[in-house]
């Protein structure tokens, strides 16, 4: 009835840390993903974006909160009942070197999901299906019986993608799928992901620390800082008119390949990132924020609508500080 493909409601994940402390990897996050859209998830290392991605497809169980898929609460499901939904969700990994079993051939790797879900009858049918998939991701078919180590990073990532789409999922989490690749290869993979999305009617959660990657693929974007959402909304809108001070810093910091802007003073973020085991009171960004006031320390700002996007800042309406 919600009309969303996937919905997270107040999801929190704590990891035990040294002593009795808990690290709030993800704390009280709610977001919605519509069928057919791509949501970009951006943040710096340690902000909990990968954890959130894994929570959404139940590779990790949340400490509290729930995840709903097509309106059904999958957090509460038993493993055996969840199996039918497992097929609908997939993950593309960051590291194309570690995510393929080194002892299996390309055919067996791509066939594994097909065989697991018994999508084809005979062995030949499976192999034909694998060929088809390899064609779809532009890996030459004659490499069917090769091993992962015989491929370059880009080709491995293609095989990883072929595996991910093999069981016809509807939702794919892409966890930094291009950050381990060379620039020229990154674009090949990004184009492929975009093509697959249209041809197979996929919905993506696209996790990246690279703002330009998200800019290209995402319809909406979600910025995270220290386990919390700072800002979420239409990509175009956020990139042109960021509301949250952190988003502004992030966008400013990206080095632009244009020497003419050189020498232009860049606003630098002050101080060191706070520890996720011991986050500041109130707004988590306040220790580094130029416009933080006592109000920010006293209470935590909630996400609220400001002209089409949601931002969690008391001073989001005002311009840059």
């Amino acid at each position: 009835m919600s009309g969303y493909l996937l919905e997270a409601r107040n999801v929190t994940k704590l990891f035990p840390a040294a002593g009795k402390k808990k690290v709030h990897a993800v704390s009280d996050v709610s977001l919605q993903i519509r069928e057919g859209e791509t949501l970009g998830l951006v943040g710096e290392s340690g902000c909990g974006k990968s954890t959130l991605g894994r929570l959404l497809i139940r590779l990790l169980a949340p400490t509290s909160g729930e995840v709903r898929f097509r309106g059904e609460n999958i957090t509460a499901l038993k493993d055996s009942d969840f199996r039918r939904i497992r097929k609908e969700m997939q993950l593309v990994f960051q590291d194309p070197y570690a995510s393929l079993d080194p002892r299996m051939t390309v055919r067996d790797l791509v066939a594994e999901p097909i065989e697991t879900w018994r999508l084809c009858g005979s062995r030949e049918e499976v192999t034909d299906r694998v060929r088809e998939l390899l064609r779809a991701v532009n890996v030459p078919e004659e490499f069917l019986y090769r091993y992962p180590h015989q491929f370059s990073g880009g080709q491995r990532q293609r095989i990883g993608i072929a595996r991910a789409i093999a069981a016809d999922p509807s939702f794919i989490v892409c966890d930094e799928p291009v950050s381990a690749l060379d620039v020229s290869v990154q674009n090949q993979i990004l184009n492929l992901l975009r093509d697959l999305k249209t041809s197979r009617k996929l919905t993506y959660l696209f996790i990246s620390h690279d703002l330009s990657v998200v800019r290209y693929l995402a319809d909406r974007v979600c910025i995270m800082f220290l386990g919390k959402i700072c800002e979420i909304g239409d990509t175009e809108e956020i990139y042109t008119r960021p509301r949250h001070p952190y988003t502004r810093f992030l966008l400013d910091a990206v080095p632009v390949p244009d020497p003419s802007v050189r020498g232009k003073e860049i606003r630098l973020l002050k101080g060191e990132p706070p520890s996720p085991a011991d986050p500041p009171t109130g707004c988590r960004f306040r220790t580094r924020c130029p416009r933080a006031t006592e109000k920010c320390a006293a209470s935590e700002p909630e996400l609220r609508y400001i002209g089409g996007v949601q931002a969690a800042c008391y001073y989001a309406e005002e311009g840059p500080a």
Binding site: E44, S45, S152, G154, Q155, D182, V183, S184, V185, Q186, N187, Q188, L190, N191, R194, H209, L211, S212, V213, R215, Y216, T235, E236, Y239, F249, L250, L251, D252, A253, V254, P255, V256, P257, D258, P259, S260, R262, I266, L268, L269, G271, E272, P273
Partner: protein, 324 residues
């Protein structure tokens, strides 16, 4: 500015493997003028890091410099005995690395590691070294410098560790700092801080040889850029000139591949194919297999790096007008 801090000519590094010798760096010449930041840009395996290591004399065996000369402030250093070269390292020339986590000794306090560098090149007392370390920590803008002195590397964030590395490299105010992908492992906001710091160092009189695969980083800080591909320099120009008018098809491909933050687009430009295996390089131009404008001559002979205009050299027959 005609004084050169670093001048490299015809540097070649050979790396014997089971399947034959490869040349990760082949006939590389470059110049770093005093008081400037010079960048080397290229994809993984293009030989940019090996070049940096060869200049420092830190190649890992079995890699070896087989040809070429390196001049530091006019003094040839490849022929120097190892003991003499060692005196230069950390003194006249320093290096910082890509991965600040693994580049610091995990069982030694960071303060001690910097003090060690000071005491290696000056004969000052322990207290003096400690005082200097604290100064350096403040200079590279490490917050709460006093308490950080007695931290171990794993207790610091990536950005702080890289600052410690820079502090360590700067103890003797070297003429040359080689920065091998110093911001690749860092977040963008931290990256911006580190780049700023490098610019300050340049202004204080240290020339920087900056190695990066990120064109944005290059554009932000470098005055002069060398583009490397498969072990060779394929293009060299001032940053403005290169970004405005890249001549080599590879450089052009790289620049077109850059994704914009400002506007979205339908499809991204790519360079077809993959970085070639150094064991199986084509006979002619190394880029010929991926080049959209490859001609017959390109497949057979390797073009020379020639100046098309003063200050702009390129290794391509097309650019010099030799192949129509």
């Amino acid at each position: 500015m005609n004084e050169m801090t670093l001048e490299v000519s015809g540097l070649t590094v050979c790396y014997p493997t089971e399947k034959g010798a490869i040349f990760p760096v082949k006939d590389v010449s470059l110049k770093v003028p005093a008081g400037s930041i010079v960048g080397i840009v290229g994809e993984s395996g293009c030989g940019k890091s090996m070049t940096a290591r060869a200049v420092m004399g830190l190649l890992r065996s079995p890699g070896k410099v087989t040809a070429g000369k390196v001049f530091l402030c006019g003094r040839e250093i490849t022929a120097l005995p190892e003991k003499e070269r060692r005196k230069l390292r950390g003194n006249e020339m320093s290096m910082i690395f890509q991965e600040p986590m693994t580049s610091l000794n995990p069982v030694m306090k960071v303060g001690k590691q910097v003090e060690e560098a000071i005491r290696l090149h000056t004969d000052c007392s322990r207290e003096e070294a400690k005082r200097r370390t604290l100064e350096l920590f403040r200079e590279v803008e490490i917050p709460e410098a006093e308490t950080r002195l007695s931290c171990y590397p794993h207790q610091l964030s990536g950005g702080l560790r890289q600052r410690v590395m820079i502090a360590m490299a700067m103890v003797c105010r070297p003429r040359l700092l080689i920065a091998d992908e110093p911001t690749t492992a860092l977040d963008v906001t931290v990256e911006a801080q580190i780049l700023k710091l490098l610019e300050h160092l340049r202004d204080a009189g240290t020339s920087v040889l900056m190695i990066s695969h990120n064109l944005g980083v290059i554009a932000r800080v470098c005055d002069e850029v060398y583009v490397m591909y498969a072990g060779r320099v394929v293009e060299q120009a001032s940053t403005e000139r290169l970004f405005e008018q890249p001549l080599h098809p590879y450089s052009r491909g790289l620049f077109r591949s850059v994704r914009s933050l400002r506007e979205g687009c339908e499809t991204l430009e790519t360079i077809p194919g993959v970085v070639p295996n150094l064991l199986r390089l084509p006979q002619g131009c190394s880029f010929s297999l991926r080049c959209p404008e490859c001609g017959e001559k390109c497949e057979k002979t390797m073009p020379e790096l020639l100046e098309t205009e003063p200050g702009h050299a390129v290794r391509c027959f097309r650019a010099e007008g030799g192949e129509e």
